[in-house]
Symmetry: C2
Amino acid sequence: MATVISVINHKGGTGKTTSTLNIGAGLAHRGKKVLLIDIDPQANLTEGLGVRDNPDTIYDSLSKNIPLPVIPVGENLSLVPSSLDLVGVELELVSKMSRETFVKKLLAPIKDDYDFILFDCPPSLGLLTINALVPSDVILIPLEAEYYAYRGIDRIVGIIKNVREHFNPELKIAGVFLTKCNPQRILTKDIRDSVKQYFGANLLDTYIRVNVSLAEAPAVGKDIFSYAPDSNGATDYGKLIDEILTKI
Amino acid sequence: MATVISVINHKGGTGKTTSTLNIGAGLAHRGKKVLLIDIDPQANLTEGLGVRDNPDTIYDSLSKNIPLPVIPVGENLSLVPSSLDLVGVELELVSKMSRETFVKKLLAPIKDDYDFILFDCPPSLGLLTINALVPSDVILIPLEAEYYAYRGIDRIVGIIKNVREHFNPELKIAGVFLTKCNPQRILTKDIRDSVKQYFGANLLDTYIRVNVSLAEAPAVGKDIFSYAPDSNGATDYGKLIDEILTKI
Ligand SMILES: Nc1ncnc2c1ncn2[C@@H]1O[C@H](COP(=O)(O)OP(=O)(O)OP(=O)(O)O)[C@@H](O)[C@H]1O
Ligand SMILES: Nc1ncnc2c1ncn2[C@@H]1O[C@H](COP(=O)(O)OP(=O)(O)OP(=O)(O)O)[C@@H](O)[C@H]1O
Ligand SMILES: [Mg+2]
Ligand SMILES: [Mg+2]
C-alpha cells in the first residue's frame, strides 16, 4: 500500500520540484518503489529527469480519461510526465462533476504497485493542487526563509483544512522544511523562529542549504545523489529523507 | 496616456513582485505617476507595500464588475490590491463571455490618470496573466539564470504570440533581464549565453545581483530606494529603469 505525498507551496521557486525529484530518487536508491507525478504545467520535474517530448502525459489522462502514462526513469523510479497543455485542463475540469477527484480515480488502479508516490505541484492552490491533495496521505511543504514565503503559509493551511473537511479527513502535514537556506543570514534566523512558532513540531530539524549542484543537476537530467554524491545538497536531502521517514 | 507594462514569468520565484515593486517605485521617485496592479492571488505586492486587510481588492472588481479599487501607497504611487479570493476568480471567469478582456474594460476609465501602469502577474500563464497582457503595451520578463527558468521561456513566448494574434497586435517585449544573479557562477554564464542567443537585443544589459536588502525591504513595506538607497539592489534597479526607459 503506497504512501502518497504531495509537495506543495503556492509561493513560487521554493524548491518543490527540486525536493520531489531528490526525495523520490533518494527513496528509490534505498530500494523503495517510487512513482513521481508531475502535475505542474511547467513540467519542470519531467525535464529535470531528462524526459523530453513524451507522447503521453497526465494531460491526456485528465482530458480523455485514459490511464495515467507511467515511464521508468531509473531503478525503482517511475514518472507520470506533464506538459504545458495542463494549463488548459484547469479550465476544462472546472465545469465537470466532482472535478476535485479526477486524479484520485486515475491513481486507484496503480497505487498498490508502489511504496511511495510523490506529487510535484504547481505554484498555486487551484484545482491541480487540490487534485493532488485529495488522494494524498501526507503533505511536505518546502519553504524559503523569506518574507513573502512566510506570509503565504496561512493560505496553505487554509486549503489543507478545506480538503480535509470535504474530501480527505486523514490528510496531515508530514513536515515543513527550509530550502535554499543560508543559516548565517539574519533574515533567515528571524523567519525560522517565526515558522517554528507557527508550525511547532511540524518544522523539521533538517534544512537544505543553498548548493549550486542542486541547480546544476537538472540540466543533465540527474538527481543529486547521482550527480554530486559528496555535495551539501546530497548530504542535506539524505538527512531530510531520514527525518521524513520517522514522521510518516 | 499611460504605458501599460506586464511583468510575467510562469516560473516561480524569479523576481516578478520584487521587480514590479521596485521599478514602479523608482519611476514614482522620478516624478512619474505610477499605478501598480497586483493580479496575483498570493498578494505579495500588496503585502510588500505594507497594505494589510484591505476591504476592496481586484477580486471584487472582477467578480462584481465594480470599478478597480485604487489606494495611494506613496508619492506618485498607487496600488490596486489583491487577495487570495482571486484564486477562485479564474474558475468563475472561465465560463463568461470575453473572459480575457475583463481587466481591459476595468482599466479603461482610469488609464489616462497615470504615466505608467505595471501588473505583477502570478506564476502561471492562465486567465489572470492573459487578462493583464490584453491591455498591455509592453512586457518585462525577469528571469533567473537557472536551468528550469531557461527551459520555460518558449512557453512565455508562445502565450505572448497567442495574445498578440487574438487581442493585442501591438504587444511587444520591452526586455528580458536576469535577476538574483551571481555573475561569477558558471551555470549563470552558461544560461546567460543561451538566453542572449534566444532573445538577442531583448536581453537587457543590466542584471540584478543577489542582494539581501531586496529580500528584507518587503518585511517593512518599503521599496529598495527608501530602505537601502546605497545597496546593490538600489543601484541595479536604478540602472534597470534607465535601460527600460530607452526601450519603451
Ligand atoms: N538548495 C538549493 N540551492 C540552490 N539552488 C536551488 C536549491 N533548491 C532549488 N534550487 C534552484 O532554485 C530554483 C527554484 O527551485 P524549484 O524549481 O525546485 O522550485 P519550485 O518550487 O518547484 O518552483 P515553481 O514554483 O516554479 O514550481 C531552481 O532553479 C532550482 O534549481
Ligand atoms: N535580487 C535579489 N536578491 C535577493 N533576493 C531576492 C532578489 N530578488 C528577489 N528576491 C527574493 O526572492 C524571493 C522571490 O522573489 P519574488 O517573490 O519577487 O519572485 P516572484 O517571481 O514574484 O515569485 P512568485 O512566482 O511566487 O510570484 C523573494 O523572497 C524575494 O524577496
Ligand atoms: Mg516546480
Ligand atoms: Mg510574485
